[in-house]
Symmetry: C2
Subunit: 138 residues, 2 copies
DNA sequence: TTCTCTGCAAACCCTTTGCAAAAAA
DNA sequence: TTTTTTGCAAAGGGTTTGCAGAGAA
């Protein structure tokens, strides 16, 4: 028995479809965070017909597999962006969405220290910064 | 003319009602973040009849006036908490939910520095830590 | 063929809103 | 009385889901 064919609890194969490629490509054409609806609109505009539900399902998939970052706007909307390989956080303009990836070795260190101090193991953390970028501040 | 009576663009007077007191009290009885629905459920359970819409409206008001903190869960739900005097973050056990409030002067400083470096103003940030607490680690 | 994926439309869920009745000033 | 609030129920808006048909393996 091979694990890919008969392993119990094997994850179903993921098939590379036109739609999934389209969503991935759309994501690749942006530098900042976009909502599922934004991406669907872009695809429609490009005459790449992909159902909205499929866009949502694909983004969810990509997000779970770690290929895209997902975060929430102030009003609860999910926004996505292809992510780079290294662990980092985001500095997002709350007005125009312009995003800067930032790294924080100090924060990572602080995180581990705090966790250890309180006896917590297997630590993860979320950290996002919001502000108004120079252009939007006027 | 007095500013409170005839000032143009004067904000409407806010009236202290039974409902608003009830929501504030409910908030005061929690140490952690709760959703509007949680609070409404608590009030109902206590036989304090307050409409769900009123709970939402009141939380919004409190949030705007800075008396409560509002943030979003991973799945987009708004959660509220009376804000304590000091700014802090949470270290949450992903297994049992045990929460420790932690302060991070270093993080706050880092946040401001990063924002300044990239020209972002009016900075806010979210930071939450997740881990497994000693009890749950076994 | 078999199993996954898609599209559509309906369902969901949290949240907001319109409006007439109730309460505060 | 005038003005703000409330409650209800309906509407909104993003997101998810059921299911039958389409497509990949």
């Amino acid at each position: 028995m091979t694990s890919t064919e008969h392993g119990h609890a094997a994850a179903p194969a993921v098939r590379p479809t036109r739609q999934r490629r389209a969503v991935a490509d759309a994501l690749a054409s942006f530098d900042d965070f976009r909502s599922a609806q934004d991406i669907h609109a872009l695809l429609t505009e490009r005459d790449e017909k992909v159902g909205l539900a499929t866009v949502y399902r694909t983004l969810q998939l990509l997000s779970e597999s770690g290929e895209v970052d997902m975060l929430r706007t102030e009003d609860g909307e999910a926004i996505y962006r292809r992510c780079s390989a290294t662990h980092h956080h985001h500095l997002v303009c709350r007005s125009c969405g312009a995003t800067v990836e930032v790294e924080g070795p100090a924060v990572e260190r602080w995180t581990r220290a705090i966790a250890a101090e309180h006896g917590y193991a297997d630590i993860a953390h979320t950290l996002e910064l919001f502000g108004t970028c120079r252009a939007c501040a006027g």
